[in-house]
Point group: C2
Chain length 450, copies 2
């Protein structure tokens, strides 16, 4: 782990000792290399030192976003359990925890096991645990390590019964803390009414081995093209979650020393924080837990749009910055307005939008035995009209506007820097991402475990 | 490596020694386990033994497809260099080579390095090598290992010059063999005319350090909804490739002891094999090299459709069989016609079609300390109208037809087996897939390296 991205006390030294074999995407290796030796190489992406495609994280933007979110949560008295499924990167988990995150949110038992392995000791599993193997694995962690704080969701009597039986079978000495999930009609998991949620909450409080720790919902699914309507719907849903907390507290269903109240993906966490702030006069303190995963890297597409709305609603002067770029090389220039890039569906998100072509750069020297001097120029902005119009598994089609001088001169071997839309579906395509400084010199690497 | 999927002499024993950590998707681990110990566990997927989602390969279908393609190639006098980018699995590469594959096709230098590391010694890189780091890596393999047979594509003078300079800089003692790529107007890489291709071929033959080894094209991009029109266009393109071979041979441009003539993705390899068969009266023998990658697992969607056309055109009695399934669990049952599954964009292809819901099964016992007896029933077919209508990163929405008794009874904890459409974009979501017998008992695992 690098000294500049603090690891929150996580035991990540093992990854510095990790031996990288030739064939790791993006790395210019001909021999195995200790991951800890990457900073010594001083690879520069604009100089053409790496392999392409290569996935980059801009350290300045990461640090900015970490700080931005820490300050945001402090302002509202909320805590952050960032959704780790976005990056599944232990080093980034470490940076988030070191910057004030309360714990990590994760989506599956396997993801929890990865996080635990690298030192995460407080987890909110944002799903109902169902598979016997998954339940056993989570209860084993709780049993083996009294310091492991674990919360999961539940939305049905069937789910409650399975967990209660499993807790008994595992001989767990402390109760399994659960949050009842309130859902949305026509959307994903979660109880469809306050009455249904209350029934599940009552059952959690009643059966042995479990404890009602809080109430949870996910407002991100309310995203629609009607922005004002979405905001209104989110506010109403957040109010419903808060009402459910009051109702369950009146019925004395909560256990533990606080009540967790959790919502807040990457699009509306400001509305959630606002709606959850200042809940008083309950049997115990309420802890609002936000769960944004994409704040850390943001993007140049959908999430940039969504978080710009947050910035506007907050009247903040500066918002989150995009930190994730995928750089590829022009491998063929078969037609005047077409360049084929060494990047495809295996390398960049395509589920919300195709990658966004941002920059180009021509490496000054190639194939020289001596390392060239560092590029003195930053990459050049591509003109409007340059866009990725299609991707195959391993190729992208960059369409160039007619008559633009820069584009006419674009040639085989030139670099293209793309932003992406939806960090989650780019991270899962890279076992290793390179963290770069503002001049695109590689500082160190972070791993992912998908 | 398992004894039933022969490894073609590849050095794969190292993967049996690979230590799997808790957190590998699909595996029910609470402690690290040697990969070689998986067969001893006798996990059964229908019994609920694994974690879910889990990606499965049906061994019977794999063996059928391996044999089918071996016999197909023999019939036409073609050889197979299956596209390894589909699976990126060393064990599956080994099975392909053991079943008569001539070599492996790969898409990137990093993929070649992975294949080489696990013993593949004949590679067709189906792209132009451009990045200095990638060129250096490939030439280093050629230089270090005289037994490594490596071919790459080229489609421009710029590409030829880069490679010629690099071969000189590397001090390579044997020429780098190249195939000139013929492309298609408006499509991907490749020269856009016979004249352009001939000019590149002449340059390859002229410059030092390179050798013209053959001609290549990729007909798969001609796929359209007009099936008859697509077939006609493929036949014409295949004829163009053959004509280019004759023209280059007349000009004595080829080096080496044979002429490679390569095309053939997974949709039209029969048309390619037919068009390439029986080329005679050239300066040296022509070796038709097919490159299908998806034949090995086929699928329940696009590739099944495409290869059924092949079967019909070949008047064959039986075609390729779908071997790849992703099984997930119902984690929530929030509305009468909606089930939420523990599978999402991280687990199954969504680029061509969403996963195809095929089967359901209710594990007989759950959470029992003793392993239950093996299920006696095979999974039940889901009724028509059951379909995955949406996926998020970690969830799928299974829409159920109204009024169907089986669907009404579907509950939390039930298993759902899905076929997929497009093997490449499912393999890249799984570091490890489980090979099962016909009763869904896990026999062993194969790894992927993306």
């Amino acid at each position: 782990m690098d000294r500049h991205l603090p690891d929150g006390g996580l035991a990540l030294a093992c990854l510095a000792e990790h031996m990288l074999q030739p064939g790791v995407k993006g790395l210019p290796l001909t021999e195995p290399m200790r991951q800890g030796a990457i900073p010594l190489q001083r690879w520069n992406v604009l100089r053409g030192d790496t392999s392409y495609p290569v996935a980059l994280l801009k350290e300045t933007a990461l640090l900015h976003n970490l700080d931005w979110m820490r300050r945001f949560c402090a302002r509202y008295g909320a805590v952050l359990a960032p959704h780790g499924k976005t990056t599944m990167s232990p080093q980034l988990f470490g940076a988030q925890l070191a910057n004030g995150a309360w714990g990590m949110t994760l989506a599956t038992a396997a993801q929890v096991q990865v996080a635990y392995r690298f030192g995460v000791r407080r987890v909110l599993l944002a799903n109902q645990l169902v598979a016997p193997a998954d339940i056993r694995a989570m209860l084993a962690l709780m049993k083996d390590d009294p310091g492991f704080e674990f919360y999961a969701l539940v939305d049905s009597g069937e789910g409650v019964q399975r967990l209660s039986r499993a807790a008994a079978a595992a001989g767990l000495e402390r109760p399994l803390p659960l949050l009842v999930e309130l859902g949305l009609a026509g959307k994903r998991a979660g109880c469809r009414s306050q009455a249904e949620a209350m029934a599940v909450a009552q059952e959690v409080a009643r059966v042995p081995g479990l404890q009602l720790a809080g109430i949870e919902g996910y407002e991100g699914l309310l995203h629609s093209h009607d922005r004002a309507g979405s905001v209104e719907a989110v506010r109403a849903f957040v109010a419903e979650l808060a009402a459910l907390v009051r109702q369950a507290d009146e019925q004395k269903l909560f256990g533990g020393d606080k009540i967790l109240l959790s919502a807040g993906g990457s699009a509306y966490f400001d509305l959630v924080a606002h709606g959850f702030a200042g809940m008083k006069n309950l049997s115990r303190p309420v802890l609002p837990v936000l769960r944004s995963g994409c704040y850390l890297t943001n993007d140049h597409g959908s999430y940039q749009d969504l978080t710009q709305d947050v910035t506007e609603r907050e009247h903040a002067s500066g918002g989150l910055q995009p930190a994730l770029e995928v750089w590829s090389m022009v491998t063929s220039r078969p037609e005047p307005t077409l360049a084929i890039l060494s990047m495809g569906k295996r390398d960049a998100s395509y589920d919300m939008e195709l990658p966004i072509a941002l920059y180009t750069h021509r490496p000054a020297q190639e194939l020289s035995a001596e390392p060239a001097t560092l590029p003195t120029a930053l990459p050049t902005d591509l003109p409007p009209g340059c866009r990725i119009e299609k991707m195959n598994d391993q190729h992208a089609y960059l369409r160039l506007p007619e008559g633009d001088a820069l584009c006419q001169e674009l040639k085989v071997g030139d670099l293209i820097g793309c932003g992406i839309s939806h960090p989650c579906t780019t991270f899962d395509k890279w076992p290793l991402l390179l963290v770069v400084d503002d001049a695109y010199t590689v500082r160190y690497a972070v791993n992912t475990f998908f």
